[in-house]
Symmetry: C2
Subunit: 108 residues, 2 copies
DNA sequence: CGGAGACGTATAGACTGTCGATATAGGCGG
DNA sequence: CCGCCTATATCGACAGTCTATACGTCTCCG
């Protein structure tokens, strides 16, 4: 049993949300997620890149090669229109799920 | 793409919580979860039983054959001491996770 | 009674997503 | 020039969920 396993299914949501802040390259997204969640989530490369590729495949992201702030070659990702729609859907889904579980947990 | 896919990792939590209401057989647990979450989650047999077996294997539950209210043979599950401890841990974990995601989602 | 259907448990197979480990490549500094 | 950091990438293992299917048995009803 790992330690800070992030809930399956939430990674897409976090990536999409992060990209609303502007285009960003892979590791920068991961860092931003760690930061936004105050360190609660650490996204490992082995999870991040498969997710990015899958999401690009799905048409939610578009990408473009560029250069990072530190002069390394980096692939910049940007939200597509479909991605924005997906984000909205996943935010709503998250709302439903978290309310449902909160409901269950407060049951005496 | 199924419809009401429940987040991986939350099933154990919901089962453990349900069993704090008293011992219960498999399908009754599933029905109770649907009810506690106001229909948001439907736990299918193909998810439920593997989970129950896994959790019993882990020592969180104990089981005993008996008879259901409708006179069918049914296996009654009960929380063990370790199960109560596990529930507490998972409740806390859920708290951390949901706060972290809420934090990320409210980021402007 | 005899068949239909509901109840309850169970498993197999496909599929998806995460993780750890490892690899490559280029820039930067000593 | 060599080691370290950044950045992307992939592979294999693994866990957990879903669909579909199966089987026994109790109840109800014709």
């Amino acid at each position: 049993m790992g330690q800070t396993n992030l809930l399956q299914g939430t990674l897409d949501l976090l990536i999409l949300k992060t990209l609303t802040l502007g285009e960003m390259h892979g590791l920068a997204i991961a860092r931003r997620i760690t930061q936004m969640t105050k360190g609660a989530f650490e996204v490992k490369p082995g999870s991040l890149f498969p997710a990015l590729h899958r999401m690009e495949e799905a048409g939610w992201l578009s990408s473009e090669w560029g250069e990072s702030e530190t002069n390394r070659r980096a692939k910049y990702y940007r939200l597509s229109k479909a991605g924005r729609k997906q984000l909205k859907a996943e935010e709503e889904e998250w709302g439903r799920v978290s309310v449902a579980i909160a409901l269950a947990l407060q049951t005496t």
